[in-house]
Symmetry: C2
Subunit: 499 residues, 2 copies
């Protein structure tokens, strides 16, 4: 049964790209200004296509765009719904798009009531008010037409030595039969020892195995830090703007207030930190997602800020193992003299995301509380993976794999930056960076529009604005973790059609 | 360097058991009444032995007892410390022990100052006040002298089909190379489908795969439920008394108030539920740790309570797959008609604890919020284990293993209960139960003293009081998950020396 849906749409009569753009923008406008209310089920793409005389493909593509932007969500097997999350995240302030198409979405100002089939998100008072309007961030399904995907945040696992990993996992599984396997909530001692050695070599992070807490990925590290360090509304948490939304979410969940601080090519503008900030979250090696490295004077200033204000610094070093040019800047943790830095690392980028292991190097005054919080959260991280990872590091496989991948990524990165500098310099300004798995580029126009038009050309890129709090920064993110050199070249060639 | 430690101890001159008891109780008394302050490092067992003329083994055993009771904690490589956790958990109210030995711990009323080497738990204002005094619950090291351990909460994994598990894990690892592996925060669809079928067969829990949220063990299930359902101090959470402390901890961590409700042989005394309770946590199949099953009238009354007061019920069905006698009582989730029950299951007991997978069957009105909270917590549960578990269930291995273990546990249980009834009926009253991996027995005297004396005989049993809020219930817990029939018989034979 199709839900009630009587939104008047005004669409061009020809040009499938123009139709898509108009359809997407008019739906988006209707969602933003409330004519399509949260929880409302949208018509199927088939129904939308037949009612409005557009092709089915165009309808699918329009929903895809809305989905990737978070305006709608997919319920398995029951269709597409206007997202609830918008109301909480200040959807009213989301730009509706600048092209003239956006203006034409007029009509019925009273939205139809939510239908019975809609999920009951956001209604039940038994759910904590904060969570009442929350929805999981589900990845948008990728249309087959997207041939060149500059995906961000994913490593290339095609040459990962899974055979070695399987062998080490099997060895770990055999040790499971021992009745007194370690259940240390801080993490398997052998793994903490391996991590301590690994970060001291790869990042000059000074730590002993006892300073390391093994976590179920970096996300759990953020979550534990938020629980232990933030005291609800009294805590002001300074975050870079832009920054990683899932990291921000855990601080919002404990009720902390966020203070966005701008970044430039030298990292966070430390002199703009509000003095009340008690927690400062930074990505000094490779600003996420812009890519700049925090300069040494800023690093020193940040540590001085922490010392003066009894604040702590959370240093998210998410993809720092892949460094290509320039002298490596020491980690904040390394140069800190006042036990104010929590260093967060992950194996999702150096190995594969499914390993679900990360770690915190914590100052001693907070360690015991973090371990207790970890125990509350999930008792211990998966034993088999911990055991296998300890051996994988200790036997040198991780260092070897990183070395190999650094050279692969370095080639891709060179190809990408060469291409951007050669063919796009008239409208794209790459942000200088020396590490990681993606490059960002700023532009004068509307980045969302570029992303959308790129998608029509079969090229998937990201918009910096999606990581921003408040006014979006106009920029594009090109990930090169899971795209071949060949596809980088071909994808950029397609993008040249845009300007 | 040994810390300052000048506590006068008065110990008997002979009888190693008497010396141990006196040493243990005088140290405990000194900790409880504050002469030994939280954070203070205790002397090494070697120093204690030489200063007070006791054997080293006796000193080790005394620390062991204090550790298992939570009065002290071990810091790796740096010794034994007076636990910080006591101040928060109302240590002043802990019974000091009733034997005359406890009275003799007199002397210096001013405690020595904490030494420089003590861990800085509980001091730094940058840690959230709730977490400032927290320490992880670390398992006490087991003295070699403990030959018969009636451990609670652990399954026998000696005959677990690890070869099959390895094969399925290897298959899962091979699928990792696929670039678009599922990253559904709700859990691998194939696993949710397998779980839905499994609980509908084994527990008559009615659910579809979409009602299931895969969690990183039952502990994460409790944690997510606490986050999503409890709104800080406004939420009163009713828990059985006794109950599982790590479950209670997550509600305390979000600031909720706990209301302990007594239990009897028919489960929780539902008519004693405070009407303001918004969350009710129960173990209706097998009360933890007493073992009774909630009667059907109580089940109906509890669901009616939830309906009338807009409360929710968290049904922890932690070891219900092992049922031996009596007609199975339907799960609360099965008979609920008002979407008020959250059913929590785990694979730690039916498989092995290191699998770290559990699940929630949630009513639809709360599911999306739980998934969002899960995503904040650790993005997704470990992929390889999810994948392997899905196949393990779907191919019938889990059902087969449960069947096999039910027969093994059934024998052990019969042996245990027969022994208790035959030789201990003059002072132990087993609590009737029909499921699970442990049996509890009540007694008129001091259970802690019995536990201690049993330990001296080389027999490890637990005290019900450790799971209580407020006045301890005098009872013993006999786990039979990881003890052979032979050891059950021999261990009970030793225990007969106690009375």
């Amino acid at each position: 049964m199709e839900p009630l849906f009587e939104l008047p749409l005004r669409l061009p009569t020809r040009g499938s790209h123009q139709v898509l753009r108009a359809l997407h923008q008019q739906l988006r406008a209707a969602i933003v200004d409330g004519r399509l209310q949260p929880g409302l089920r949208l018509p199927s793409t088939r129904a939308l296509a037949s009612t409005h005389g557009v092709s089915r493909n165009t309808a699918v593509a329009a929903y895809d765009l809305l989905l990737s932007e978070g305006y709608v969500s997919i319920k398995r097997g029951s269709g597409c719904y206007v997202a609830e999350v918008l109301s909480r995240r200040g959807a009213a302030k989301v730009a509706v798009g600048k092209s003239p198409g956006g203006k034409s979405a007029e009509g019925n100002p009273t939205a139809p009531p939510p239908t019975a089939g809609a999920p009951r998100v956001g209604t039940d008072p038994r759910v904590h008010s904060f969570w009442r309007n929350r929805q999981a961030r589900r990845a948008a399904p990728v249309p087959d037409s997207l041939r060149y995907r500059f995906r961000c945040g994913l490593p290339d696992t095609s040459t990962f030595p899974y055979d070695i990993w399987r062998r080490l996992s099997n060895r770990a599984m055999r040790s499971l039969t021992h009745p007194d396997v370690s259940r240390d909530p801080q993490g398997l001692p052998a793994l903490r020892e391996a991590i301590a050695k690994h970060v001291s070599v790869s990042r000059a992070v000074a730590c002993r195995p006892d300073d390391v807490l093994v976590t179920s990925g970096a996300q759990q590290a953020f979550d534990l830090l938020a629980r232990v360090l933030a005291s609800g509304r009294q805590t002001l948490v300074a975050v870079e703007n832009p920054s990683y939304p899932p990291m921000r979410a855990v601080f919002e969940a404990v009720g902390a207030k966020l203070a966005p601080v701008p970044v430039d090519n030298d990292g966070m503008l430390v002199d703009q930190l509000p003095s009340q900030a008690r927690i400062v979250c930074v990505t000094p090696s490779h600003q996420f997602p812009l890519g700049s490295a925090m300069s040494m004077p800023r690093r020193m200033a940040l540590l001085e800020f922490a010392r003066k204000n009894a604040a702590v610094v959370i240093e998210d070093d998410y993809d720092c193992e892949f460094r290509y040019d320039g002298r490596p800047l020491e980690a904040l943790q390394t140069i800190d003299r006042h036990e104010s830095v929590f260093y967060v690392g992950t194996f999702s980028k150096t190995m594969f995301p499914e390993v679900r292991l990360g770690f915190i190097v914590a100052p001693p005054w907070a360690l015991e509380a973090l371990i207790a919080a970890k125990q509350d959260a999930d008792l211990i991280s998966p034993f088999i993976n911990q055991h296998a990872l300890a051996a994988f590091i200790a036997e040198g496989h991780l260092a070897r794999h990183i070395r190999k991948m650094r050279s692969v990524y370095s080639q891709r990165r060179r190809r990408l930056i060469e291409g951007l500098q050669r063919d796009f310099s008239h409208w794209l300004t790459p942000v200088p960076s020396f590490a990681g798995l993606h490059v960002a580029a700023l532009l004068p126009g509307d980045a969302e529009e570029i992303v959308e038009r790129a998608r029509e050309l079969g090229v998937g890129i990201g918009a910096v604005g999606r990581y921003c709090l408040g006014k979006p920064i106009q920029g594009l993110v090109f990930g090169y973790g899971v795209i071949s050199e060949r596809s980088i070249v071909d994808g950029l060639a397609r993008l040249r059609q845009l300007r």
